[in-house]
Symmetry: C2
């Protein structure tokens, strides 16, 4: 088990047990040496990359995460646009990318002898941590926001965690849980254990393109934890000489325009991300007004030559429809905006016909159904052949 963590910014090192965030204020991640790493011959899911993970013994549901399809669907591509490869993270065991980080977090907790884990979330992460904890009989505390809808509580509740509705400032809770003098391993969205798991998606993507690399990776950003993990992976693969420094994929991060602190700071040319007062958006999973790894994500974008984009809710709805009607994919709004971003990057000639772009669709659309305008017609069974023949023959109302 690794315990040494390092600050990406100032380079200071610490022990994970002492602190998850550097004295300088920026988040830590594991200090991973990849000089001898090479693409493995075998391995199950994310554990294919066990040599670069802080724990080497997967437990329970942790065994299942990762190895999601990288799916090219020509129906979404245009003649002058890039080749679009979609990473279907909704096919992780609890339907989102969060399972990668939970798998590492829970396996680490078991190896470390911890009996309690926790998380501050009322969405994909809460479900993922609760499911993984249940699979190995760990106690699990989930701290949800006061206004979390009943439907979502039941989704998380099926795995029987200790559910707490936090009364007070939910925004502060995230940081506070990392500094408690309580024996609970909080696997929040940008903590070192989670980032270690989340980075495996970039290992999978890069291995699929090896010895080449995609030109760009486009993903939603909320806390910045996932983007940090992907950036960490790219740096590690560069150290391992499996990615060429001159051909590093550019990272494009996407936010909902109604809540886009990282995009605003990017456009303003700021060195650090400032919190915003966001509006309500259909992209609930990524509506983070004060992202704890926002500055780290911004740094990742700048160092890889990418950008941060903001997408309006109407465009997100259109992207969901397009993914469902043209690619047969059902994803949550917070994933669909990746397609809007790829289209915007194509319109601005940032991406062109020579490019390979990977869009990370972070979560399934099945967990929280969106209302769809659905037309249904009555068909008297006695009239089956006539109606269907007319339909196939091109009649609009046979």
């Amino acid at each position: 088990m690794d315990t040494r963590v390092r600050c990406y910014d100032c380079g200071a090192t610490d022990d994970l047990r002492d602190r998850k965030r550097c004295n300088c204020g920026e988040p830590h991640w594991f200090d991973t040496d990849t000089r001898d790493f090479d693409w493995p011959d075998e391995g199950m899911g994310i554990w294919r990359y066990v040599d670069v993970l802080p724990v080497n013994e997967p437990v329970g549901l942790s065994r299942v995460s990762g190895n999601t399809p990288l799916h090219r669907n020509r129906g979404l591509e245009s003649a002058d646009g890039p080749r679009i490869h979609l990473k279907l993270e909704g096919l992780n065991p609890t339907g989102s990318f969060k399972d990668r980080g939970s798998a590492v977090g829970i396996s680490y907790a078991v190896a470390d002898g911890t009996t309690w884990v926790g998380t501050v979330s009322h969405g994909n992460m809460a479900l993922s941590v609760a499911a993984h904890a249940a699979s190995v009989d760990l106690e699990c505390a989930v701290l949800v926001a006061e206004e979390t809808p009943r439907e979502r509580l039941e989704l998380i509740g099926q795995h029987d965690p200790h559910l707490f509705r936090a009364i007070g400032s939910y925004g502060d809770l995230y940081e506070e849980t990392l500094n408690l003098d309580v024996d609970i391993e909080f696997v929040n969205s940008d903590t070192p254990l989670r980032v270690a798991g989340q980075k495996t998606v970039a290992y999978e993507i890069c291995e699929a393109f090896a010895p080449g690399a995609p030109d760009a990776i486009v993903l939603p950003v909320s806390s910045g934890g996932n983007a940090s993990g992907i950036w960490k992976a790219l740096r590690e693969l560069e150290t391992a000489e499996l990615l060429d420094s001159s051909a590093m994929p550019r990272l494009y991060l996407v936010q909902a325009a109604r809540c886009d602190p990282i995009a605003q700071s990017y456009r303003a040319g700021s060195a650090a991300v400032t919190a915003v007062d966001g509006e309500e958006t259909i992209a609930v999973s990524i509506a983070n007004e004060d992202p704890p790894s926002g500055t780290r994500a911004l740094t990742a974008v700048r160092e890889t030559g990418g950008a941060v984009l903001s997408i309006e809710d109407d465009e997100i709805r259109a992207a969901m429809r397009q993914l469902a009607e043209e690619a047969g994919l059902s994803v949550e709004p917070s994933s669909a905006l990746v397609l809007s971003a790829i289209e915007e990057l194509t319109r601005s000639d940032t991406l062109g016909a020579d490019d390979d772009v990977v869009g990370i669709l972070t979560g399934s659309g099945y967990k929280e159904q969106t209302t769809v305008d659905t037309a249904v017609r009555d068909l008297p069974i006695d009239d089956l052949e006539r109606v269907l023949s007319g339909l196939v023959g091109g009649e609009t109302d046979p």
Copy 2:
């Protein structure tokens, strides 16, 4: 493209385009020669087994199906019970095992120049066929039952198929669509194309155990199409000499006690399955009163030395809870009863500590949420450390 189909019962052959059901009344399946088949070195999802599929060019979303995890979770096992390996079919692209058959059906339709596909379903199969058709821009007709709830229509409707509410006898519709003089390829639940796709789950299972084999495979049964596909695969692997005739896995099929025509016919020792008037059950996906491949499924059970079990709704609810709370898995009721069946087979000493049993969890629990009794407590953030310390320390109400 293969077109020759054969009757498993009387051995008669036909062309798929002429008939999907034999003159003798039993359903056809593809006539597949596996004498030269061997485990492949590579291949994507179900297309790993392209040598035994009736079409060899995957299209659109079809590329993604299959290669689902086979997951052993010791938390579900008992000291005197079998090793339990769960096949997580809910991790197919539309969240159910149906994607395997849809992948073959849609790819075949495209290769055959068909522009219309259809299906008679208001559940997993409807969603799966609509999504696959959308991904390759095929027109798709979905015929749902009159009483299908709005929520489910919207789930299917997101892929924009032609949705028809069938007014009249829904039970007859299934057969009628197979005999229409209309240019629509109906990929219903026991048609040869679907069975050809569904069989790949058994190829995956057997390859995972090769050169050995699991002792038993336990799966839900509705139309009998999936069970038929699995039986077909076992026979094909026996022909290929990749399964030893003396070590064929036994097939155990499971129905909800409230609607169990195949189980009733099995217990009565009948040669054929008779339709029943079922009651309402929470296992909606498998409540089939008149299964079109019921007799074929019954034959599969008898020839492999298995059985058909009936599970009460209360036990199904308990199994769902157990899977969620002890394995971190969310599945639909129609899948959960597989665990109840494994427990029943363990209690009756049919399965013991020396056995490997594979349970096929056919569908995700996320598409139609079941109400869960969920306790949530208020936690004032100012009181965070005290409450959590008390909890970890064993206080029941800190």
